[in-house]
Every structure is written in structure tokens, then in C-alpha cells.
């Protein structure tokens, strides 16, 4: 049975990675299990300069979902290379670094610095964070925006480039097609859904930032539909995410057309969940008599 996948020229030992922002740089989870078992580790967002993030409260729980408004807090790319990447070098798996910025030059500064790092295998360009005021989602919600950022990043990057798409658009497959046309090597989708939560007793917004991004099983059926529509529209591989809590949801996204999957807030509920997802995908393949994991991606019967 072969569980390995090739995403834009990078060989993954299995199709499972982590969703940016839910796994740090892996260290906190390495306390629980051998994180080199993952197909890839996708890090939290990294910007050119340190970002303080948003005021607290930054997180709220809703039924089958989590609303977050972290605001991409991070210590900046230089610190990331020095601390996080130095650690990730010791982990025998692929490293996907999530790149964020307010402006094109800010994105490019991070891309150029990370392009020179051997330990970085792929770059995921975050054009879909709903929690920062400029940049972020702005590039990911129009075909013009995604074309501009993708072209600029592709010109500078020496690593394969994944564009992380926002679901907060009228037709996500159009954005995916524009990214592909501009040179994207892969897509990851979906980022969180812009949402909010009002505390009825205080009559105030629960999150200090008023709005946040919704993720978790609550959004899974919408994410699956979006992956299905986009997979039909593009030829580049898709890394799918949105409410994967076990192998079943991972398989569902792959049947919708994804080549790989990312596990997000499920890491908060069960720190060893990614290992469980990998095992359960294997069990599913056995059950269906599949020899190669790509058979799931091609396996939807319409």
C-alpha cells in the first residue's frame, strides 16, 4: 500500500499536514508524538517584521466550531529562521512555511529569505487571513489580487508555492484558476470563514477584534463543496482543510478532489489526532482495496 503523494515535485510520505496556526512550529506537539510521521508540517504565519497580533479575547467556541482572531502574531522571519527552522531541521519531514504580509514587498522579503533556507520545502502564501486590516485577505478575494501576489512571489521563490485561498468569495474556483494561471504550484483551501459571536449578556462582541475566522466541523460541508468545485477547475494539486477531525473527513476531502489534507483545530481537541488521521486513511484504503492513496483522489463516483 502506497500512502506517499507528490505535491508540486515534493514527495510526502503521506498526504497529511497541519493547518497553519494550529500547530505552532511543531514543538508543542513533539511532546506528544513523533511529528516526523507527518507528510509535512505547515508552520504558523511568518511576516517580515514581528507582529504583536490582536487584543484578547482572541478565541471563542461555537457549536462544532472555533472562532479565532489571533491576528498572525509572530516574531518575524529572522527569529523564525533562527529558532523555529533550526528546530524543524531536526525533524525528518517536509516543512511548509506559511508566509504573511501587509504589502507585496513584505511578502517578498519573507519569500526571499526563506528561499535560501534548505530546511524549507514549500511556501504557503497566506492571502486569506480575515483577521488583519490590510494585506491578508485583500489579495485573496479578487482574481486581480491573487494574480498580482502569485506572479510576484513566483518570480522570487526558489521553492514550490502554495496559495492558500479564502472561502470569503463568490466563486472560489475562479480565484483558484487565477492563481494557477499566474503560476501557483498548488492550492490550499479553505482558510477560515469571516464570522462573529455576540455575548448576549454583556451585549458585546465576544472577540476583541469583533470578527474572527470560523473553522472546525461547522464549516466542513461548505469546504468540501469548495474543494470539489475548485478541483474540477484546476490541474494543480489541492491541499484541503476545514473541520477534519478524523480519517473520515480527510477521505471525504480527497474524494472531492484533494491530493492532500491539513488538520487544524482538531489538534486542539486531541494533540495526537494527525497520527490517527494517517492511520485511518490507511484503514480506509485497505477497506476499499486501494493500493495507492491517489486512488482516493480519483475515487469519487459521480
Amino acid at each position: 500500500m502506497n500512502m506517499s503523494v507528490n505535491i508540486a515535485g515534493v514527495e510526502w510520505k503521506n498526504p497529511v499536514t497541519t493547518a497553519s496556526g494550529t500547530f505552532g512550529s511543531g514543538r508543542e506537539f513533539a511532546d506528544f508524538f513523533d511529528i516526523s510521521e507527518l507528510g509535512a508540517i505547515t508552520t504558523k504565519g511568518v511576516s517580515s517584521k514581528p507582529w504583536e497580533g490582536n487584543p484578547v479575547p482572541r478565541i471563542a467556541e461555537t457549536s462544532s466550531g472555533v472562532l479565532n482572531s489571533i491576528g498572525l502574531q509572530n516574531g518575524g522571519v529572522d527569529r523564525f529562521i533562527e529558532k523555529d527552522l533550526a528546530y524543524l531541521k531536526t525533524v525528518d519531514t517536509n516543512v511548509i512555511v506559511n508566509v504573511c504580509g501587509h504589502t507585496v514587498p513584505e511578502y517578498l522579503e519573507v519569500v526571499e529569505k526563506l528561499s535560501d533556507e534548505e530546511a524549507v520545502d514549500m511556501l504557503e502564501i497566506n492571502v486569506s487571513c480575515p483577521n488583519i486590516s490590510e494585506g491578508g485577505m485583500a489579495f485573496g478575494t479578487t482574481t486581480e489580487g491573487i494574480t498580482e501576489i502569485t506572479k510576484a512571489v513566483k518570480e522570487k521563490s526558489k521553492k514550490p508555492v502554495i496559495l492558500k485561498l479564502s472561502p470569503n468569495v463568490a466563486d472560489i474556483s475562479e480565484i483558484g484558476k487565477a492563481a494557477e494561471a499566474a503560476g501557483a504550484d498548488a492550492l490550499s483551501m479553505v482558510n477560515t470563514f469571516l464570522a462573529t459571536f455576540i455575548d448576549i449578556r454583556s451585549r458585546k462582541f465576544f472577540l476583541a477584534n469583533k470578527t474572527g475566522g470560523l473553522s472546525g466541523p461547522a464549516i466542513k460541508p461548505i469546504a468540501v463543496r469548495m474543494v470539489y468545485e475548485t478541483a474540477k477547475a484546476v490541474d494543480i494539486p489541492i491541499i484541503a482543510m476545514g473541520g477534519i477531525m478524523s480519517g473520515a473527513e480527510a477521505v471525504e476531502f480527497m474524494l472531492a478532489g484533494a491530493s492532500a489534507v491539513a488538520v487544524g483545530v482538531a489538534n486542539f481537541r486531541y494533540p495526537k489526532v494527525t497520527r490517527q488521521v494517517i492511520r485511518e486513511i490507511g484503514e480506509y484504503m485497505e477497506e476499499q482495496g486501494f493500493e495507492d492513496v491517489s486512488e482516493i483522489t480519483k475515487g469519487l463516483i459521480e
Binding site: 505552532g24 506528544f32 497580533g53 482572541r58 472555533v66 502574531q73
Partner: protein
């Protein structure tokens, strides 16, 4: 524990047995959990994450460890059930004999000191100080001064604190101890100290900070925060720090990782 854990992973997810779970005051419950590995490795000030059975509630609930029974391998948490609580109510229905998923211990510990210690607790900030008092008595054989603030005479854990140190009580309505705040109780009882440990609501911690700065005392405070993962990954539970934090690289710190215990000068309240 699985093989990887035995090979050197420091933490694990445990399915622990609930031994007791009952009210000890109005809307305050204590729960004893049989979790030998956590009991063995935990220190005062640390917390555990408890995972709810309800699949619709994804985030763990963090609880400070109130006390540890090393001989039985049990830990105790004391928690308040909010009137409109979404989750803690479910925890009150976790019956003895059933299992609960739990991780820990997480976070920093109260640094122990041989100096003259003053413990200040307010409301549900009181329980984490109990194991500290136990440890101080065990290690240094000295009874600390303990000042506890409650809303009214519906107090909890007082008897246990009285076995460990000199207890002064303040209540908002004056129905037990002095009427006023913990700071009023310190002033009225002329409680002296060389080092302070405090846990409670933010206004109380602000008063403690002011007092510690004025008297030039070291003070360790344990912060509460709305957490996501409770493991240090999601950056939800940060507090503002006076300097760039080593763990985050910016001027804030993760309460679940660099905290919950901070020296009062490190953080902005």
C-alpha cells in the same frame, strides 16, 4: 502510554478515571481524578486540560491543579460553574467511575522560596494556592500567611488552608472575616511578607502588584486567560509583557506556556 511515549516523549493524552466530583460551595465543584503520571510530574501552579465528551465543543477546558495526592496518584481541580456556562456544566455531570480525557501538567510553576511567604487568593483563584501551601510546608516546614477573599460566608477550602498556615479571610459582604478586599485584610491584620504568591481576579492582582512594587517585594501571580489549545501552539491566551518575551519574540507571553505563573513585574495587567 504507547511506545513513543516510553521512548522519551514528555507528555501524553490520558484517559483518566474520575474519583469524586461534587459541590463544595454554591456553583463551586471539586473533582478528584486518578491520573498517576500527571500526579507524579505536576508541581504547584500548573494546570491540566480537560476535554469534553460533547463533540460539538472542541476546545479543552483548562483547570489549575488544586492539590495532588501522591500516594493515590490523584489530582484535584476546583472549578466554578458559570450561570450561563457552556461546558463547565457538562463537567459536573462527569460521574465517579467514568473516564475523562486529560493532558498535563502544563505551564509554569510557583517558584518555591524559604522566605516568609504570603499567599493571596480571591474566589476561584484560591484553589491553585493550596498545593503551593502544601509544598511550602513540606519543603521548608514553615507555615505561610494566607489571605483569602470570598464573596460571602459560602467559603471553600478554608479548613485545609488552616492546617497549613495562618489564614485571614475577607468577604465582600462582611459575613465572614473582615468586610472588604484581601488588601484590606492584609492591612487590618498587619500581615508581613518577604515574598508574595497570588491568584484571583484582575483587580485583585492589580492591587497586589501595586503593593509589591511599593514594598519592593517579589510577587508571583497566576493568570487566568481564555485559552485555545492550552499547549502553546495557537497564541490565543496571550497577556501583555513589559519586555519582548523570549518565548514569543514580541511584547506578549502565552499564559499557557510562559505562564500561568509570572513575576508581577513581567506582565502588564
Amino acid at each position: 502510554m504507547d511506545a513513543i511515549s516510553l521512548l522519551g516523549s514528555q507528555k501524553d493524552c490520558f484517559s483518566a478515571i474520575i474519583k469524586r466530583n461534587e459541590p463544595i460551595a454554591e456553583n463551586i465543584f471539586e473533582m478528584w481524578i486518578e491520573a498517576p503520571v500527571i500526579a507524579m510530574s505536576a508541581y504547584c501552579g500548573q494546570f491540566v486540560n480537560i476535554y469534553l465528551r460533547n463533540q460539538a465543543k472542541i476546545l479543552p477546558r483548562p483547570f489549575a491543579i488544586c492539590s495532588i495526592d501522591h500516594s493515590k496518584g490523584w489530582i484535584r481541580v476546583v472549578y466554578r460553574v458559570g450561570k450561563h456556562g457552556t461546558g463547565t456544566r457538562e463537567i459536573t455531570y462527569m460521574y465517579p467511575g467514568t473516564r475523562v480525557n486529560i493532558t498535563g501538567p502544563h505551564g509554569t510553576t510557583f517558584p518555591m522560596s524559604h522566605k516568609k511567604c504570603l499567599l493571596i487568593g480571591g474566589g476561584v483563584g484560591i484553589p491553585p494556592l493550596l498545593q503551593l501551601a502544601v509544598s511550602l510546608v513540606d519543603v521548608f516546614g514553615k507555615r505561610p500567611d494566607i489571605v483569602l477573599g470570598y464573596r460571602n460566608d459560602d467559603t471553600f477550602l478554608v479548613d485545609e488552608f488552616e492546617e497549613l498556615g495562618t489564614v485571614h479571610i475577607a468577604t465582600e459582604d462582611g459575613s465572614r472575616g473582615i468586610k472588604g478586599t484581601v488588601m484590606d485584610a492584609i492591612a487590618q491584620n498587619r500581615v508581613g511578607a518577604e515574598i508574595i504568591y497570588a491568584c484571583g481576579p484582575v483587580p485583585m492582582l492589580k492591587a497586589v502588584k501595586e503593593y509589591a512594587l511599593e514594598k519592593d517585594l517579589t510577587a508571583y501571580i497566576s493568570l487566568e486567560a481564555r485559552m485555545g489549545c492550552g499547549l502553546g501552539a495557537c497564541l490565543s491566551c496571550v497577556c501583555k509583557t513589559s519586555e519582548v518575551n523570549k518565548g514569543t519574540g514580541v511584547k506578549n507571553a502565552r499564559v499557557c506556556k510562559e505562564g500561568p505563573v509570572f513575576e508581577v513585574r513581567e506582565v502588564e495587567l
